[in-house]
């Protein structure tokens, strides 16, 4: 049955100097539909979102809302017409309560006073309607990121004129469990008959939540298709234009190599306790767990960033690094969960690559620039880091390439043990596969790798062995990865038997 779309975008184009960001893109959103918009970084999805929500003007094309042409000159215009964008960076006031945030800037009044009763009771009903157990009086700052996101979405839903909800990568900071709850909320919102555009990096999530999927690549629309006719492999090919070489799973098994890292009764940061494990040379040892399970605390402990107790042995030597400086001297490298904790954005690519080996590219404190830059050039080439040149500030690189710069930093140090904490989070699918392949390759060359992830598929793809963490402890170690299903990993990680 043909329905009138709530939102229709027809042949919209947008150019930035030097780049055609959008080239005659069309898409529509039906009432009660979740329409996933996929694309790699730079594919144009953010640009399209910004145009739809009035943040930037379009160069050409038309936008129709409920069949009528609209021209948004500012985000306010879009808001008034019922188009609301929920961005990745949340826009809540931490010190105000849930209720105050939801009604921020449009508090109902009674005379000159704010009508608190109405605010709290309406918020209460709103929370109840979507099955969220939260006190409207709780300050937003004390909520978890996932809960804050829920508040942000409810803030949009509470607008009486809401027609289109744009969710920009809402799952990027959420654990599996929280994603489930978010999807329940989205399913509830769907029932109210509004249209939802869901932007994501994660293919399986898009397939799960969306009714239809539109894929952008290099500013052009590749396809719009019903989600049930698609699978991850097809989406990957649409996204990258390349066919997939699926990494084989089930490496494991060869346990003859020497032990690089051994932990006995190891505790870190007061939360992670009683960890016993061995990481061998030439293996990828995955620490799998949901957010908050203690994986990162363990990694930080190994790198001298947390207080630790217990026995840590690195290549037959008992060690206890108390600072990153000591850990690095021992031969440990660490890619933190958040790239912002490791990159100096305003330094150029080459300086970020050599930051941990300054003493090696200098003599008596004076840098040998030629040596330094040629070393950086080598890594840019071998890791295929996309940058105009090595003198470009890291700030301007895409997430995947930033991650590769960090990888290069540690490879330049030739570490014995490399700890990688969620190295593929928030980067392009293409770069994701590339980095996983690099990790396998490094292990083959004899490096010991401790790889942290909360994506079960990723864990199975890269791992030789997998340890599952929950509540600050290792609950199970899988010695082989073949024959394990991702649901088994998830069940162990969440404590469901």
């Amino acid at each position: 049955m043909p329905q009138t779309p709530i939102l229709e975008v027809r042949n919209v184009s947008k150019s930035f100097p030097g780049v055609k960001a959008l080239d005659t893109v069309s898409m529509d959103v039906l009432p009660g539909e979740v329409h996933a918009l996929l694309g790699e970084n730079g594919a144009g999805k953010s640009t399209l979102m910004k145009i739809i929500s009035g943040i930037i003007p379009k160069d050409a094309g038309e936008i129709f809302l409920d069949g009528k042409p609209v021209h948004f000159l500012s985000p306010r215009d879009a808001l008034n017409a019922g188009v609301v964008l929920v961005q990745q960076e949340l826009s809540l006031v931490p010190d105000l309560s849930v209720a105050e945030n939801i009604f921020l800037g449009r508090w109902p009044r009674r005379g000159v006073q704010v009508d608190w009763n109405t605010i709290f009771s309406e918020t209460f009903h709103l929370l109840e309607r979507f099955g969220i157990k939260e006190d409207p009086r709780t300050p937003v700052g004390s909520l978890s990121v996932a809960e804050q996101q829920t508040v942000e979405i409810l803030k949009a839903v509470s607008r009486p004129n809401l027609r289109i909800l744009l969710l920009d990568e809402p799952t990027s900071a959420l654990s599996e469990d929280e994603v489930n709850r978010l999807f329940e909320l989205v399913a509830e919102i769907k029932k109210t008959g509004i249209g939802i555009i869901f932007i994501s990096h994660k293919l399986h999530e898009a397939l799960r939540i969306a009714d239809r999927v539109t894929v952008l690549r290099d500013g052009r629309k590749v396809v719009t298709e019903e989600a049930r006719r698609l699978d991850e492999r097809m989406l990957f090919e649409y996204l990258t234009g390349k066919s997939v070489e699926v990494l084989e799973t089930g490496h494991g098994g060869d346990h003859t190599e020497a032990v690089m890292l051994a932990l006995e009764g190891f505790s870190s940061g007061g939360f992670v306790r009683d960890v016993n494990l061995k990481v061998r040379k030439g293996e990828v040892f995955v620490l799998f767990g949901l957010i908050g399970s203690g994986r990162t605390t363990l990694a930080r402990g190994l790198f001298g960033l947390e207080r630790t107790t217990g026995k840590m042995t690195l290549e037959d030597k008992v060690v206890q690094p108390k600072s990153p400086q000591e850990a690095i001297a021992l031969g440990i490298g660490y890619l933190p969960e958040d790239r912002r904790q490791a990159l100096v954005y305003e330094l150029p690519v080459f300086a970020n690559i050599t930051l941990a080996i300054l003493s090696r590219v200098s003599r008596r404190g004076i840098l040998r620039l030629r040596e330094e830059t040629s070393l950086a050039e080598d890594f840019v080439r071998s890791l295929r880091i996309k940058t105009p040149n090595i003198f470009r500030e890291v700030l301007y690189l895409s997430g995947g390439n930033q991650q590769k710069v960090l990888l290069a930093r540690w490879l330049a140090r030739k570490p014995k043990l490399l700890i990688m904490d969620e190295p593929t989070r928030g980067i392009d699918v293409g770069a994701k596969f590339e980095i996983r392949a690099m990790v396998r390759d490094l292990a083959r060359q004899g490096l010991a790798i401790l790889y942290i992830t909360s994506e079960p598929v990723e864990a199975l793809e890269v791992a030789d062995r997998i340890a599952v963490m929950r509540g600050g402890r290792i609950v199970r170690i899988f010695e082989r990865t073949d024959g394990i299903d991702k649901t088994v990993l998830l069940a162990v990680a969440s404590g469901v038997s």
Binding site: P17, G18, Q341, L343, V344, E346, L347, L355, I366
Partner: protein, 340 residues
């Protein structure tokens, strides 16, 4: 769209106003310096003469040396408010040693510079080990060090008329030469200050210490995670700042042929202004000492030009203060335009 952010929209512009904006964004302080010089050249016939320019450089030398240090400190996302006091301490100690104790120039100079460096290191230790904001620590040092300088001199100028005799109590010729001499017509303090700028450039661009300064200021956590000893870098940079101030103190004492504990008051503002005009980011991680050179000269030209035009010194203070505010506003605007 991270790639596009590198190419701001105005690059493509063709109109005159766009071109002007472009010029301002790229070479802000240099454009300001040229424009200001042109204006003064029109208003005063004495401005654009070799003699006057050498005079400007002579006056700027002290600020320039201290501002070079301030550049390094600000690149680490710090700020040194004690530069003026430390300069006075170093200068007074050197002057007391040379004039009253009869020390030769070199040992007197070393004594002053040594204690100035020590004062800087003290600030660094307080900041790094005491986990106190740079601003507060050096504000405290500003008062304390000035007090020590007053105690040393008893509040009197050194050498003072009461104590100086024909035989002892005058400053040696070497320090006077350093502050106001010239080599074939070129002022010694100017040569000295430019040498300091060159050394600073070398430190910032060619040494591991310099690279660490940018890393610490750009992202402290990242610097630590890359194995840089952040505390050590912080302590060292304030030590270097003290050392530079000690050197600047010698130049100032030589120029005035006298030292007193209250000299170089307000130097912190002048150096910060020179650094900011020069385009160094007040929040750390970005900056260059050549920018500071331009900034310091611009400030020197401004005060020299206003003098030539017989503007009251009190007004000059007002103008200098407003200039700092204007520069920061300009800097914010520049950042907005280039980021979007």
């Amino acid at each position: 769209m991270s790639q596009n952010r590198a190419i701001p929209a105005w690059r493509e512009g063709e109109s005159l106003s766009r071109a002007l904006v472009n010029l301002l964004l790229k070479g802000g302080s240099l454009v300001g310096l040229v424009a200001l010089s042109a204006a003064f050249a029109i208003l005063s016939p004495h401005f654009f003469t070799l003699g006057n320019w050498l005079n400007i450089f002579r006056q700027v030398a002290v600020v320039l040396i201290a501002a070079s240090a301030q550049t390094m400190v600000i690149i680490t996302a710090g700020i040194d408010l004690s530069v003026g006091s430390v300069l006075a301490l170093g200068g007074c100690l050197a002057a007391v040693a040379m004039s009253y104790w009869g020390w030769p120039f070199v040992s007197g100079a070393l004594l002053g510079v040594f204690f100035a460096t020590l004062a800087g290191l003290a600030s660094g230790v307080i900041i790094a080990k005491g986990r106190i904001p740079d601003f507060i620590a050096t504000l405290g040092m500003l008062g304390a060090i000035r007090g020590i300088a007053l105690l040393i001199t008893g509040g009197l100028p050194v050498p003072s008329h009461f104590t100086a005799t024909k035989l002892a109590g005058y400053l040696p010729q070497s320090i006077v030469w350093l502050g106001s001499g010239d080599i074939k017509g070129i002022p010694v303090p100017m040569v000295f200050a430019l040498l300091v700028v060159a050394i600073t450039w070398f430190i910032l661009n060619r040494t591991t210490f310099g690279r660490s300064l940018y890393a610490v200021g750009g992202n402290r956590e990242a610097a630590r995670a890359a194995g840089i000893n952040v505390d050590r870098i912080k302590i060292l940079v304030y030590g270097v700042s003290g050392l530079y101030c000690g050197l600047a103190g010698l130049v100032l004492v030589g120029r005035m042929n006298s030292a007193n504990a209250l000299m170089a008051e307000g130097l912190e503002l002048q150096t910060i202004a020179a650094v900011v005009i020069g385009g160094t980011n007040l929040f750390g991680g970005k900056g260059s000492v050549f920018g500071t050179l331009i900034g310091a000269i611009l400030m020197g030209v401004l005060s020299n030009g206003l003098n030539l035009l017989n503007v009251e010194p009190f007004w000059q203070r007002v103008v200098n203060g407003l200039l700092i505010v204007a520069v920061v506003v300009f800097d914010q605007w520049r950042r907005r335009v280039t980021r979007d």
